[in-house]
């Protein structure tokens, strides 16, 4: 899309922040409001700590904290590239195949199942 390259600045900034500081040890990362209010975990709980582990290459640690993030992060990075990256030949086809209706339904069911399942 049109000149959205500035979006990479906050993305890289956040990556540096989550690399440098472990949210498990530093309390200036906000906690999950859903967990704070209800006591139940949401599907995204632990994603900040898991992101820190992933940025350090500790995939097993990240998986134990929030497997959903480990599964979704490569998908999100690719989607971000397709949406805001430079144009290339198979972009539209890839977007249609991987980010179309079937994909959305799988993502939706996956998030819901994980959300319920982790609280059982």
């Amino acid at each position: 899309m049109k000149s959205r390259h500035w979006l990479w600045v906050p993305v890289l900034g956040l990556a540096v922040l989550y690399y440098r500081f472990d949210p498990a040890r530093y309390s200036f990362f906000p906690p999950c409001p859903f967990r704070w209010l209800t006591g139940y975990q949401c599907a995204g709980c632990g994603s900040q700590r898991a992101a820190h582990q992933l940025l350090h290459g500790h995939i097993t640690n990240a998986w134990q904290i929030n497997p959903l993030l480990v599964l979704l992060l490569p998908y999100l990075v690719l989607g971000f590239f397709l949406e805001y990256g430079p144009p290339w030949s198979h972009k539209e086809l890839l977007r249609r195949r991987l980010y179309g209706l079937t994909a959305i339904r799988i993502v939706f069911v996956g998030i819901t199942v994980f959300w319920v399942g982790r609280n059982l």
Binding site: M1, S27, F28, A43, G44, G79, E83, I104, V107, F108
Partner: protein, 181 residues
């Protein structure tokens, strides 16, 4: 007459004829789309739009003939399906699919506000299903809704963080000191 769309600040404008485009102050960097293109292209890279950027003297140069893009399907094999536009039909190719905000909605779901993110994902599905059914207006409405939930999540995240910092500032400073190994 060919109809063109272009993007201004991520908004899709159009359709315009070539003559109408002349009044729109497009630059070579503006992304444009017309039936037959696989994706948005910079106006400067579209041969048939060269005349937008050449002054009166530039018309001395013979413009390159437009590159013929292979159509997705030959119309002859297209069954006549009353009312329902098929992929590859003229109607289907006339408007690009509106942004479905899927990636942003997933980000909102796992990093900020699960209910808002899930609402975004539901509307993302509606963008794609409406578009596949040929309901362009429905797809554009769903796209706007999905985008709205992403923006709400974004502002909730920012305000949440700021409020958290303000109210718990003192406690944070204390834990910063104790946590420094």
């Amino acid at each position: 007459m060919k109809q063109y769309y272009y993007l201004a600040d991520n908004n899709q404008l159009g359709p315009f004829s070539l003559d109408e485009l002349r009044t729109k102050n497009l630059t070579r960097e503006t992304l444009v789309w017309t039936a037959g293109m696989a994706d948005w292209l910079k106006a400067g890279d579209v041969a048939e739009l060269n005349s937008l950027f050449t002054s009166g003297f530039g018309t001395l140069v013979e413009p390159m003939p437009p590159v013929q893009v292979q159509p997705m399907q030959t119309p002859t094999y297209q069954p006549m399906n009353a009312g329902v536009p098929q992929p590859g039909s003229a109607y289907f190719a006339s408007t690009p699919k509106p942004k479905n905000w899927l990636v942003e909605s997933i980000l909102a779901t796992i990093f900020c506000c699960l209910p808002f993110g899930v609402a975004g994902i539901v509307f993302a599905a509606r963008v794609d299903s409406s578009y596949a059914a040929g309901d362009i207006n429905g797809a554009m409405k769903a796209s706007a809704e999905a985008g709205k939930w992403t923006k709400i999540s974004f502002f909730v995240a920012i305000t949440g963080w700021v409020l958290y910092m303000l109210f718990f500032g003192a406690a944070i400073l204390a834990t910063l000191n104790t946590n420094r190994y």
